[in-house]
C-alpha cells in the first residue's frame, strides 16, 4: 500500500501549493488572464457594448491597420516617445541622481526640489507647461524672443509638440532620481578606491564601476519607462486639447492629437475607438498592438542586457 500513500501525499502537497498560490492565481485570472482573453476574443467581434457581440473575422484588424487614419500617426508618435522620452528620462534621472549624491551641502534641498515635480498631478503639470510654453503669451517665449533666440511654437507646432512633452516628462523625473540615488549609494566604495589606485579617470570609474553595478536599475528604469511611454495618455491629450483651445464644454469639437496628430498616442486611440465610437472590436485590436509592442521592446532589452540580473549574479 506504499503507492497510494505516496500519491495521496503528492496530492495533498499539490493542494497545499495551490492553496498558497490561490490569492495570486485568482487575482491573475480575474484581473489579467480574463481581460486578456476577452481582448483577443473581442478583437474578432463586432461589439458596441449594447448589442450582443457577433463574429466579424479580421474586419477590426484590417480596419485598424488599413483604414483607420489615426493608427499610423499614433503608432509613430508612440514609438518616438518610447525611444526619445524614455532615453531622456533615464539619462536625466541618472544625471540628477549622480549630481545629488556628489553634492556635499544642500543635497536635501536639491533632492526635494527635483522630486517635487513628480508629485504634481499630470493634468495640472500639463496645463502649467502649456501656459509656460504658450507661443503668444508664455514667459518662456518672451525670454527667448528677448534674447533674440528663435522661439518655437511648442504645443501648437507639430515639430515641437513631442519635444515639449518630453520636457514635461523630464521635469517630473523625481521618481527615477530617487531610484538611481539608492542604487548609486549602494555601489561598494572599495571598487571606486581600487579603480582610483589603478589610475582610472572619473569617466572610466563611471563606465567600469558605476554602470555595471547599477545596470539592473538602469534596465528597470528603461523597461518601466517604455511601458509608461506606451501608456502615455493624459499629458498628450490635455496638451492637445488646451493648445487647440478646447478646455471644457461637452459637445465642443476637438482635433485629436493637435497639432497635426502629433500628440496622438495609441492609448488615445483605444479610448477613442472603444468609448467614443462604440467600436470595442477595433479598440481591442489596437490594445493588442500596444501589448505586442510592449512585449517586443521588453524581450529585446532582456535579451540584449541579460534581464534584470546583475552580471555575475
Amino acid at each position: 500500500m506504499a503507492a497510494p500513500t505516496l500519491r495521496s501525499k503528492r496530492r495533498r502537497s499539490a493542494l497545499r501549493t495551490a492553496a498558497f498560490l490561490s490569492p495570486w492565481l485568482i487575482g491573475f485570472g480575474v484581473f489579467f488572464a480574463y481581460p486578456m482573453v476577452s481582448t483577443v476574443y473581442f478583437s474578432f467581434m463586432r461589439y458596441d457594448g449594447f448589442q450582443p457581440p457577433s463574429f466579424n473575422g479580421l474586419a477590426n484588424w484590417t480596419y485598424v491597420f488599413r483604414d483607420y487614419p489615426m493608427f499610423w500617426p499614433a503608432l509613430r508618435n508612440t514609438l518616438w516617445l518610447v525611444v526619445v522620452m524614455t532615453a531622456c528620462r533615464v539619462v536625466f534621472g541618472l544625471g540628477v541622481g549622480l549630481l545629488i549624491t556628489k553634492i556635499k551641502t544642500g543635497a536635501g534641498v536639491f533632492r526635494t526640489l527635483f522630486y517635487l515635480p513628480y508629485l504634481a498631478p499630470p493634468v495640472a503639470a500639463t496645463l502649467a507647461f502649456v501656459f509656460l510654453l504658450n507661443p503668444g503669451t508664455g514667459p518662456v517665449n518672451s525670454v527667448l524672443e528677448g534674447l533674440g533666440v528663435p522661439a518655437p511654437a511648442w504645443f501648437t507646432d507639430a515639430a515641437w509638440s513631442k519635444p515639449a512633452l518630453t520636457m514635461l516628462a523630464v521635469w517630473g523625473v523625481g521618481d527615477l532620481m530617487v531610484i538611481f540615488m539608492a542604487a548609486l549609494l549602494d555601489v561598494p566604495k572599495e571598487q571606486y578606491e581600487a579603480a582610483e589606485l589603478d589610475g582610472a579617470s572619473a569617466l572610466q570609474r563611471f563606465r567600469f564601476v558605476t554602470l555595471p553595478n547599477i545596470a539592473p536599475i538602469v534596465m528597470f528604469a528603461v523597461v518601466t519607462g517604455i511601458i509608461q511611454a506606451m501608456q502615455y495618455y493624459t499629458q498628450p491629450l490635455v496638451a492637445g486639447k488646451v493648445a487647440s483651445g478646447v478646455i471644457g464644454g461637452s459637445g465642443q469639437s476637438f482635433e485629436p492629437g493637435y497639432p497635426d496628430k502629433s500628440t496622438l498616442t495609441l492609448p488615445q486611440l483605444v479610448y477613442n475607438l472603444g468609448f467614443q465610437r462604440f467600436d470595442y472590436g477595433a479598440a481591442c485590436a489596437t490594445a493588442l498592438v500596444l501589448f505586442a509592442l510592449a512585449m517586443a521592446f521588453t524581450a529585446l532589452l532582456m535579451r540584449r542586457r541579460g534581464g534584470l540580473v546583475q552580471a555575475g549574479d
Binding site: 457594448g49 483604414d67 487614419p69 459637445g251 482635433e255 501589448f291
Partner: protein, 449 residues
C-alpha cells in the same frame, strides 16, 4: 540562482505589467429592460445633464422643481457636469445608481445613440401620450433628435448660431453698426477694415477664421451653405455637393487674406478660455465672432466694454436671398434603456421638452433658444431684445444641422480633419482631397454598421 530562470521570471513579470495596458479596456454588457413601471408610483429618478455653471445649474434645478410640483410622486436627483463619455459608460453598465433620464449637448451623436440602443426608443411613449411632434417642434429639431426613423431623443432648447460684432469697433473703422455683413465677401471686407496690426501680430483682428477659433468649425460654417452631407444612396456627399468645396475655399481665402494660418494661429494662442470672461470677443481682441446664442449673455455678464451687435451669420454671395438662416443644434434628452422607471422618466422628458411654461422658464433661465413653436412665440420669453435674432434664426426654414450618422460625430470629425489640412495649405488638390475624405467617411460608417 541561475540567470535563465530569473530571466524567465522577469519576462513573466513584464508580460503581467504589459497586460495592464489593456486589461481594463474591453469589457461590456448587453441590452436591458422594457417599460412596465407605474408612472404614478412614488419613485426617485436620476437625471444626468451636462450643465455645470452656477446660473445654468440653478436654471435646471428650478425647472426640476416645477416638475416635482406637478408630479408629487416623482423626486428627481439631478447630477450635473456629465459629458458624453461619462454618459456612454453609465448607459452601458446600467445599475441602480445609473441615470434614468439623460441629456447631451452633442446632437451629432444622436445617430450613434439611436442606432446602438444607448438611448431608449421613445416611440411607444410618444404614441401613448398622443403627441404630434410636428406640431410641437420645428423640423430641424425633429431631424436631429432621430436617426433613420428611430426617435430616441427629444429636443430640449435650441442653440442657434449667428454673428456677434463690436459696434464701437465698427464705428471706429468707418462701418455702419446698423449694417452687419450679409455675405462672406462683405465679412472678409469688414474683417480687413476692422483689423489693427500690432508688431508681427494684431491688436484687433476683424474676424478669426481659423477652425480652431472656438465656434468657427466646419459644421458651423457649413450652416451658411446648408449642404447635403449624404447622397440618396447614403454615401458621403462631401466631394459631390459643391457646397463643401465652396465653404472650404471661402474660409481659406479669409485665412490667407487676414494674415495667413501661422500668424492667425499664433494670435489665437493668446485668447482666453471660450467659456470664460476673457473670451477674445469680450476683450476686443476680435471684432466679429461666429458663436451660439449663449455668447450674448456671457458677453453681458463679462461686462464687455462696447456695444454688442447681433446678426445672422453671412451667407455665400450666390445665396444672398437665404440671409437670416443659420446653424442649429441643441440639447437632447432621452431615457436610459436599462432604467426600470421608464414611464416615470418619460413624464420628466415630456414635461421638460414639451410643456410650454417649463420650456419658456428654462430658456429664460439659461438664455438658450426655446425649442417648441409655442415657446418661441410665448409672450413670457424674458430675453434681451437682441436675442430675437436667434429666435428668428431658429424659425428660419433654411436653418440647418448636419445629417446624423451611425457613428455619431465621426464623419464631421473626418471632414474637420481634412479642413484643418486645407486651411494650412497642405492640400494641393481640393477635389481629390474631398474625394478621399468621402471614402474615409464611407469606410468608417460601413465599419460601424
Amino acid at each position: 540562482m541561475p540567470a535563465r530562470p530569473r530571466r524567465r521570471a522577469a519576462a513573466a513579470l513584464a508580460v503581467t505589467a504589459s497586460i495592464g495596458l489593456f486589461a481594463s479596456a474591453c469589457t461590456g454588457q448587453s441590452d436591458g429592460a422594457a417599460a412596465a413601471d407605474d408612472p404614478n408610483a412614488k419613485v426617485t429618478l436620476t437625471f444626468w445633464h451636462g450643465w455645470a455653471a452656477e446660473s445654468e445649474v440653478k436654471a435646471i434645478n428650478d425647472s426640476i422643481e416645477r416638475f416635482e410640483r406637478a408630479h408629487p410622486n416623482i423626486t428627481v436627483n439631478a447630477v450635473g457636469d456629465i459629458n458624453d463619455d461619462k454618459l456612454n459608460q453609465a448607459l452601458r453598465t446600467g445599475g441602480s445608481k445609473g441615470p434614468d433620464v439623460v441629456s447631451s449637448f452633442t446632437t451629432s451623436n444622436v445617430g450613434k445613440f439611436c442606432s446602438s440602443g444607448a438611448f431608449a426608443d421613445l416611440k411607444p411613449f410618444i404614441e401613448k401620450s398622443k403627441l404630434d411632434l410636428e406640431k410641437v417642434f420645428p423640423k430641424t429639431l425633429l431631424d436631429y433628435t432621430q436617426f433613420e426613423g428611430k426617435r430616441c431623443a427629444m429636443p430640449l432648447l435650441t442653440d442657434a448660431y449667428g454673428l456677434y460684432y463690436n459696434k464701437d469697433a465698427f464705428k471706429a473703422a468707418g462701418l455702419d453698426p446698423a449694417k452687419p455683413p450679409k455675405t462672406y465677401s462683405e465679412l472678409l471686407s469688414y474683417a480687413k477694415k476692422l483689423t489693427k496690426p500690432k508688431g508681427d501680430g494684431f491688436e484687433t483682428l476683424g474676424f478669426m477664421p481659423n477652425y480652431h477659433g472656438y465656434e468657427t468649425t466646419t459644421e458651423h460654417y457649413l450652416g451658411s451653405w446648408g449642404p447635403s452631407y449624404f447622397d440618396a444612396a447614403g454615401k458621403s456627399a462631401v466631394a459631390s455637393d459643391p457646397a463643401f468645396a465652396a465653404m472650404l475655399t471661402t474660409q481659406k481665402k479669409m485665412v490667407d487674406e487676414l494674415g495667413g494660418y501661422a500668424k492667425l494661429e499664433k494670435f489665437r494662442t493668446a485668447f482666453g478660455a471660450e467659456f470664460g470672461p476673457k473670451h477674445p470677443f469680450h476683450t476686443g481682441q476680435v471684432a466679429m465672432q461666429l458663436d451660439g446664442e449663449w455668447r450674448l449673455g456671457m458677453a453681458v455678464d463679462a461686462k464687455a466694454p462696447f456695444d454688442i451687435g447681433v446678426a445672422p451669420m453671412p451667407v455665400p454671395d450666390d445665396r444672398a436671398a437665404e440671409y437670416g438662416k443659420g446653424f442649429l443644434s441643441g440639447t437632447i434628452m432621452g431615457i436610459a434603456p436599462r432604467s426600470t422607471k421608464q414611464n416615470a422618466a418619460w413624464e420628466l422628458v415630456k414635461f421638460m421638452t414639451t410643456d410650454t411654461e417649463a420650456v419658456v422658464a428654462f430658456a429664460n433661465g439659461i438664455r438658450n433658444v426655446p425649442s417648441t413653436f409655442e415657446a418661441l412665440d410665448s409672450p413670457n420669453l424674458n430675453l434681451d431684445p437682441r436675442f430675437r435674432t436667434f429666435l428668428d434664426i431658429a424659425r428660419h426654414p433654411k436653418s440647418n444641422t448636419p445629417a446624423g450618422a451611425v457613428n455619431g460625430a465621426a464623419h464631421l470629425n473626418t471632414l474637420q480633419d481634412f479642413a484643418l489640412q486645407y486651411e494650412k495649405g497642405e492640400v494641393p488638390d481640393l477635389q481629390a482631397g474631398l474625394a478621399k475624405t468621402a471614402r474615409q467617411i464611407d469606410t468608417d460608417i460601413a465599419k460601424a454598421k
